[in-house]
Symmetry: none
């Protein structure tokens, strides 16, 4: 069964409201095995709405509309959809009785009564959270039509409790199940190249998607039930796992920060951070995870050199000889915050986020990230770009992500594999790779 | 000029990602006077995409596509759109040179190079936050086509800095000029109520828009040139200014953090922050502003009580008697970080971001924010919600915004006006309002 979703509302075309209804309906339909091929939005304009409904009904087996069922005058969806579907409207007396009870003791005018006017012969979808009922009916073209109200607080319960069960009756019993495997350290391009032939299947399927500074692989299977779908996708997931190695950091769709916080909780280990160019972004990401207070001890944002010396004990000699943006300073920041916080791990980040402050020797985007467990200290170097610089936000986010990736590797006893896009050989002086 | 927006991506049809790009593009187009009549989403399916583009180009003057410009094989937007628009593709050598610089020192395979293949004769839209360029070209049908990347972090800057100016050039000879007046401390509803009759005009117009925890008023005028448009909107801006008072924090569309950093630079004053529940978000926002190193001295994220005592000198007695989430602790955090950093202003934030950790007396969302200049210490209290709690991210962002608003008021010699939505009377013990 191929479906289309049509949202109605001028506020959506003005961009004043983000259309979350479509995503909700799409996810719900795919959970019962209905494919969505196309979604569209039109304003409160009868001609364009009529055209859009007519086009859809010529193509699809199921059209779901959202919005435009309320009592105000610009809500013309019902009239227009019924006309395009070739089904007359009439006052539904059961519905009118329900509405009369709903409005008991309040103003109940013609506008409100209009909500009980529905396509003749439709299945009424009860609204437990508002006045406008939805409906399900078959168009003259043969496609099913479901009309849902726009407000998510009304749409979601109506869809779950009334529309989906009614549709499940009309559809096959297949379900679609997806898993998102998250990847850090390989770009989307490189990930797709490594998986190549695995991206060609039809059931299960795998596809790559970009996220900020990382990417994920979505594996999807269609089967009679969830268990069967999960069993079908296992062999494919195992192949992807083998190809991506430790670049694949979670199969549970969690973020890098969640992976780190949960790993630290399991190990009963604590963390502390000393940040310069990232300005608190790393601690912010760690502490965005509920429960992080168990493992996060302290963060210091040390912009001024004076503060680096005072709070972290970075030596004046190091700052003078190598500069604030150097392997040496990053290591001493990590070691200093670990000491100050009394934590198991310490992380230090120092770099040039731009747009100003870069030199030929130390360009914008150059960042050193150090992690110490008290015995070893590891460092990664983001080399900065020689071409056009990227944004301050980009470098800051990337540096925080690298720190999280390093922490996850230490917490999960994984090799401190370098990002192949920032190769290890050029990435740091050999002597600094591990230091006591 | 009538526009349509077409988003490409199977993930949107599966409902796994909410389509926020469409709303963003729609709002941007309407801000320059371009009407959006229709928006649609199709998956990574060449036939359906071809059909959708063909249908659009037959109806509209401008088609904006989002998504599908990346290096992977399912990214077929460019080829399909160009084919439907009747324009051939070719390797754009300038773009290839830019990409070569962009990937310098990293893997740069055929997939990545493909991103420089663009419609012949197009205007290239530079991507400052990723690799895939966008483009603007005229289809054989006569409509303009703009192709933008899907990730919002790439799409938004490309649209603002390159696509909108290019479109403004291709549009009619009138210019549309907008100014965004940013407001903190009044919700969008309350702002709209205060402005009421001022929102009814037609040229210039004023409209309110919600942002995360704040809102803005966009004033737009259409005239023969920019100067004339600015002159036309002046009287309206003055009325808005008078009604909103010091809740209006900038007329230059800058953020709260930018307003604070620039005010501190002008005053040659420095800041330091001590954060508990916001976990570094405040320092992250401050240091996201280029040049903030001139005024930001130090941030401390003090989750553990031990660290609050050690680093900030919060007294054990205070922590035991009043608790870590109290007016007293917030004040001592602000005073402690000011002392430790040797800064002019110190800010302390302590609260319960949730979802766990709330009690009847101290519910989730309760946050104290203190600011000291060494003479006075001011405190704001976010009371938390007694109804259904909001997200951890919501409370953290709101608390950081209040801290920034307090800093702006002190730096700009404005009264420490309370947010009317968190009224002063219930907001803090009177004796704590100012303390020596």
């Amino acid at each position: 069964m191929n479906a289309e979703i049509l949202s109605v509302g001028t506020e959506l075309l003005l961009g004043q409201v983000i259309n979350s209804d479509t995503a909700y309906v799409a996810r719900a339909l795919s959970s019962v095995g209905i494919n969505v091929h196309y979604t569209a939005t039109v304003g409160d304009n009868p001609e364009r709405l009529y055209q859009a409904v007519t086009d859809s009904l010529a193509r699809c087996d199921l059209l779901v509309t959202t919005g435009g069922l309320g009592p105000t005058d610009d809500d013309l969806t019902k009239e227009t959809v019924a006309r395009a579907a070739g089904v007359p409207l009439a006052m539904n007396e059961d519905c009118l009785a329900t509405l009369t009870r709903y409005f008991a003791g309040r103003y109940f005018g013609e506008n409100q009564k209009k909500q009980a006017v529905l396509p003749v012969g439709c299945t009424v979808l009860q609204n437990d959270n508002g006045s406008a009922p939805g409906c399900l009916f078959r168009s003259q073209q043969g496609a099913l039509v479901v009309m849902l109200p726009g407000p998510p607080g009304e749409l979601i319960p109506m869809l779950e409790h009334y529309a989906l069960p009614a549709l499940a009756g009309s559809n096959s019993h297949a379900v679609i199940v997806s898993k998102n495997l998250r990847v850090f350290g390989l770009g989307e391009g490189l990930t797709a190249e490594k998986l190549d032939d695995l991206l060609q299947g039809s059931n299960p399927t795998a596809a790559t998607y970009a996220l900020q500074n990382e990417c994920f692989v979505r594996v999807t299977a269609r089967a009679a039930n969830e268990e069967e779908a999960l069993t079908m996708m296992q062999p494919l997931i195992e192949k992807i796992r083998a190809r991506l190695g430790t670049y694949l950091y979670t199969e549970e769709d969690g973020s890098l920060e969640e992976t780190v916080v949960h790993a630290a909780m399991r190990r009963h280990m604590t963390l502390a951070t000393a940040e310069s160019c990232t300005g608190g972004l790393l601690s912010e990401r760690l502490t965005s995870i509920p429960g992080s207070s168990e493992v996060f001890e302290m963060g210091a944002v040390t912009y001024a050199n004076r503060i680096k010396e005072q709070v972290l004990g970075v030596s004046a000699h190091t700052l003078q000889t190598y500069g604030a943006v150097s392997v040496q300073t990053a290591c001493q920041m990590a070691q200093g915050i670990r000491r100050a916080a009394g934590s198991d791990l310490g992380i230090g980040i120092t770099g040039i986020a731009g747009p100003g402050g870069g030199t030929e020797e130390k360009p914008v985007g150059l960042v050193y990230i150090a992690l110490t467990d008290g015995v070893h200290t590891w460092v990664r170097r983001m080399p900065g770009h020689t071409g056009p610089a990227r944004s301050r936000a980009f470098y800051r986010y990337a540096a925080a992500s690298h720190a999280l990736d390093m922490a996850r590797r230490v917490l999960m006893d994984l090799p401190m594999q370098e990002n192949p896009e920032f190769p290890r050989a050029e990435s740091l002086p050999a002597a600094m790779d591990e230091k006591g």
